[in-house]
Symmetry: C2
């Protein structure tokens, strides 16, 4: 038995739009979005948790470091369930850290800490939780990128038009840091 | 490089006690506790997220259905990263659901919904997030069970003394439902 719902985000979603309903989502069947070369899949968000937390996955090809950014009001978990991901984080005093995370490893990025990552093996997967006192921001990926019904990675990278970087990220507590540099060895 | 901290919960922990510090935890190295036959491992909690969310894993042997319970103020995620787990949930109108979840599958239990699970394969692992507007309650496992430095399952089940069920669960937003019955097929 699979129940599908019409929600503010999808005409057919496995995530119920109303609060208080138990639900199940099979692997890969969450609300999906492509952004750059990656696939993001949302399994729960603010509507289901009274805005306390969300739950999503990120899959991407082995590639370059993603754009550095920070979240003024959001704490973020990186939990690796497949492959290998190098996480770069800077604390609020300017100290930089870099760590290769593999299956079962965990990284925590507090609010206001610049961070980025580089997927270092094909078929890697990150489980993410990103939330803070101001709420959750799991719809950033489809707002800046594109909602999709596909299950795989984008065939060609989904690169937002430049002017959209001026408004969309801020609405989702994302602050891109184009001048940021990683001085760590990696 | 591995940093260890003294915290309110452990004399040596990989989770920093102060807010705002980035950190990394290798697989299995979070704060561990045994309760009944299971191993719970905390990777983040309320102190790290301004009480918005936590992140933990649960591993256990193939076994019986755990005691049914609900959380008056807590939403809970069950995300399976290994093995197979049967999740039982009842909604607030009394409708019961049962689903076998395997690697990559997701289940969501809203507050006030009675639920239980049965681990159906040895070496299964559940990733959990449990939080709500009232905060997070990740220290329930070691408060009712026992903190441990071991990495594996308990050699013998950690069964709390009966009188502790009268106080500890309530302090962590856990309401045991000893008379609850699952009418689902499983």
């Amino acid at each position: 038995m699979t129940i599908e719902y019409a929600t503010p985000y999808r005409s057919r979603s496995h995530i119920p739009p109303d609060l208080g309903r138990p639900y199940f989502v099979e692997k890969g069947q969450g609300d999906r979005a492509h952004l750059f070369g990656d696939l993001f899949t949302i399994y729960a968000g603010g509507e289901q948790t009274e805005n306390t937390f969300n739950f999503f996955t990120c899959e991407g090809p082995k590639g370059d470091v993603i754009p550095s950014h920070s979240h003024p009001d959001t704490y973020e978990v990186f939990y690796i369930t497949a492959g290998a991901v190098r996480l770069f984080v800077e604390d609020t005093e300017g100290e930089q850290y870099e760590r290769l995370l593999t299956t079962g490893d965990f990284g925590f990025v507090p609010k206001n800490c610049p961070h980025a990552y580089r997927i270092e093996r094909h078929h890697s997967q990150i489980v993410g939780v990103a939330a803070g006192p101001g709420g959750t921001f799991e719809r950033f990926f489809e707002s800046l990128g594109a909602a999709t019904l596909d299950h795989g990675l984008p065939r060609t990278p989904v690169v937002p038009e430049p002017h959209r970087f001026g408004t969309v990220p801020q609405e989702h507590d994302v602050l891109f840091l184009p001048d940021h540099r990683w001085r760590t060895a990696g």
